[in-house]
Amino acid sequence: MEKEKNNKVVIENLNLFYGEHHALKNINLKIPEGKITAFIGPSGCGKSTCLKSINRMNDLVDNCRIEGKIFISGEDIYDPRTDVTLLRKCAGMVFQTPNPFPMSIFDNVAYGPRIHGIKDKKKLEEIVERSLRGAAIWDDLKDKLKKSAFGLSGGQQQRLCIARALAIEPDIILMDEPTSALDPISTLKIEDLMMELRKKYTVIVVTHNMQQATRIADKTAFFLMGEVIEYSDTDRMFRNPVDKRTEDYITGRFG
């Protein structure tokens, strides 16, 4: 029981259908608080789908049907009582391609807090600074907060998006291949940042880059065709995988 308490996200018997397509098959995962958990697997295996189930972004897909339960801090997020706005405030998301809004850098970061009712200018300035610092990009951007976010490089944009997610003070940060659109140097910077974030947040990251998983993740889940084949400490999974299919994947025999 003591161990259970430290699980931030618990996924129980999750099945997800896109129309007839059974995209997630009986997923069970206990994702620990204050750690980085990576989802790996070949493309199309359901990593993003599983990630999006955690902040209910799948609600937006017309023909998507979900069975099973997901608990965050012990509360079932698919319970009718759940306020999706609060859920998404609790679980911030960073997307595969940096997607800053067509607004100033300041307004990008302040957008989330504004949604959640913060209007005071001083307070917003404070949050923007704290979030940009949290995303290790304050020094780069502090002099151009009024400028459009589109002038930034891809790596900077992605860190801005991370800052935007931090600004709503989430407990969990969901990242869907956050570095796949970035060059190697920006990638390493984001990875460093994720190691920093891990101290305060529960991070769940989808990656198709196995090196990245070994570099940053405490735990790794291997997805294949909608199933979780193996889920364990990253070290153990990469040193001695239990399942033959995991071994084949991490040794590069398919995927």
């Binding site: 998404r88 911030g92 998301m93 997607n99 949604i115």
Partner: protein
């Protein structure tokens, strides 16, 4: 220049790849293209030049601001502004609302396809049919008679398909990633649409509005049966919409067939010139906006 023995590959380099043969069919085709381009541009310039040469001389401040009931232009210009205003004030919000509904709210499927098909068909219907419909419904059934408001109501139906379609296109070009970004921060759907999606689509929406302004200004058939022939100055700002009042294009039409006014033809060309200039300005505006939109 150094003198070196030429190897075989050097010699080959000197062979030109340029064709020395001129194909006859190419020449003929090119001539045809030039000819048709010239013809089009030529007619266009001729038309504009002819109208302006015949009309520009007659335009003066007196002409524009004369409120004489027989041939004063001011009441006609005011009628036209009334029609623009009262058509757009309804058509824009309804059109944008419909476009938002069709692109953001309703489940994409047969129903939406049917609506799209109907708007496209409506956009292609000759406007005299709208005029006939407007006459039967607004003038007769609603008892509005031949009046500016009946003309406006008819015109709303004429411009709506265009506004809806252009706005829809503008909304659809807004990347989904913006929307997802806002939703993932906890923004509601309504907020996301009005704060993120709609602002991105503003240039496109403005383009559609400008096109509608031009359409209303250039329309005559839809008004012919609905708006009447009035040439009086408004007595009261609001009640004027219930009186009959011709627009610039209609005035041109009535003038051209009016033998009793001595300068009728000149007045026609003057009106045509004014319309041309306004349409030209509107089109340039729309182009500029569209350019901004693509960026």
């Amino acid at each position: 220049m150094q003198q070196i023995d030429k190897t075989e590959s050097d010699v080959r380099k000197n062979i030109s790849l340029y064709s020395k043969r001129v194909r006859k069919s190419d020449v003929v085709l090119k001539m045809l293209i030039y000819f048709s381009a010239l013809l089009t541009v030529g007619f266009f310039i001729l038309l504009i030049a002819y109208i302006i040469v015949n009309g520009a001389g007659y335009i003066s401040l007196d002409f524009l601001l004369s409120s004489a009931e027989s041939d004063g232009l001011l009441p006609i210009i005011i009628n036209t502004l009334y029609v623009e205003f009262f058509t757009l004030i309804f058509a824009i919000p309804i059109g944008i609302g419909a476009a938002i509904y069709l692109t953001q709210y309703v489940k994409q499927g047969k129903f939406v396809k049917l609506i799209r098909f109907s708007t496209e068909t409506l956009a292609g219907i000759p406007s005299i049919l709208f005029g006939l419909f407007g006459y039967a419904i607004f003038c007769v059934l609603f008892g509005l008679g031949s009046s500016i408001i009946a003309g406006c109501l008819t015109m709303i139906i004429c411009v709506l398909p265009g506004i809806i379609r252009t706005t829809e296109e503008a909304l659809l070009t807004v990347p989904n990633s913006y929307k997802n970004g806002a939703l993932a921060l906890g923004a509601g759907k309504f907020r996301t649409i009005f704060e993120i999606v709609l602002p991105c689509a503003v240039p496109g929406i403005l383009t559609s509005v400008i096109l509608a302004v031009g359409r209303i200004m250039g329309e005559s058939a839809a008004f012919l049966l609905t708006i009447g022939t009035g040439t009086k100055m408004p007595k009261e700002v609001f009640s004027h919409i219930f009186s009959s009042g011709r627009t610039l294009t209609l005035h041109l039409y009535y003038m051209s067939g009016n033998g009793s006014v001595p300068d009728a033809m000149k007045i026609c060309f003057a009106i045509a010139t004014i319309l041309l200039i306004l349409i030209f300005v509107l089109n340039v505006l729309a182009k500029l906006l569209a350019k901004k939109f693509i960026h």
